[in-house]
Symmetry: C2
Subunit: 169 residues, 2 copies
């Protein structure tokens, strides 16, 4: 039964959902940018219970009503998205490449964070992964995308974070 | 395995596909209108093989490339649509009502045709079913719909097909 339910959700995500990886500028962050992962489903307001049913299966995320009579179910964050995509991956078809790349990028971040015992990744890894996020955007045919790896690089360079200048002792 | 595949297709149909019942004016028809059933899936041209995979499961229908770089998989006709919807019905959620109503209407037509040993339905049944098709359109939120049961009624009345006037012997 569970496989059938996950296959249904995978089909629905392939048809009408969205998997996103984005470079988000964050004022409080030393590295200036955060990699944000999300999965979004939306429907007409009257089908809110349908999205609640999906949320029960995928556990994470939240449902909110928009002002345009639509309701949106969003899963945000590396761990929640990793959890949902791991469940859906075997059944995805159209968005399988996106799911795979997202899982890879999230996996690399988690590994680094575990290894360094820090909560954040370093500038070098952020720069590497930003290029991967660019590839992801190509898979999604994202238009009007302004926060690219180029922007991240500019920020890191202008803050001397990529190749720190050695200071005199 | 098969249930998982059908659940996936049902999810995809709920997300991005379309089940239609339409009243189509037909010049060669005595009753003036035909009830047409169809299921449509579409995708970017590059995903043609994805639609071919779905067609392998649902058997009926044809795939055609549109001029706008999209590819369309259409199942048309009462029997083909009945066959596909019977397979998908257990797994559908958002379009379950549409599927149920379509299966009912198709079932009533088939029963009548078998009973009368004729290929066509009669004016009274067409009139009854046209009202059901109106209900179906409401479920689909069809806009710009011009061929309503009212139009069918006008045609049948203007051709004396609903309440035939008795002629002098």
């Amino acid at each position: 039964m569970r496989r059938v339910e996950l296959a249904y959700i995978a089909g629905f995500l392939d048809g009408d959902g969205c998997i996103m990886l984005q470079l988000v500028p964050r004022k409080g962050y030393i590295l200036g940018y955060q990699i944000r992962a999300s999965i979004v489903f939306y429907q007409k307001l009257q089908y809110r219970s349908f999205l609640e049913e999906i949320k029960e299966k995928l556990i994470y995320g939240y449902i909110r009503e928009r002002k345009d009579s639509m309701v949106e179910y969003t899963i945000v964050g590396l761990e929640p998205v990793e959890s949902a995509l791991t469940l859906l991956y075997p059944y995805l078809k159209l968005k399988k490449k996106q799911a795979q790349l997202a899982l890879e990028i999230i996996g690399r971040i988690s590994k680094k964070v575990r290894a360094s015992n820090k909560e954040k990744i370093d500038a070098k890894l952020l720069m590497e992964l930003s290029s991967e996020v660019d590839k992801f955007a190509l898979l999604n045919y994202s238009k009007r995308r302004t926060n690219t790896s180029e922007k991240v690089k500019e920020f890191l360079e202008s803050h001397n974070l990529l190749n720190p200048v050695e200071t005199d002792p």
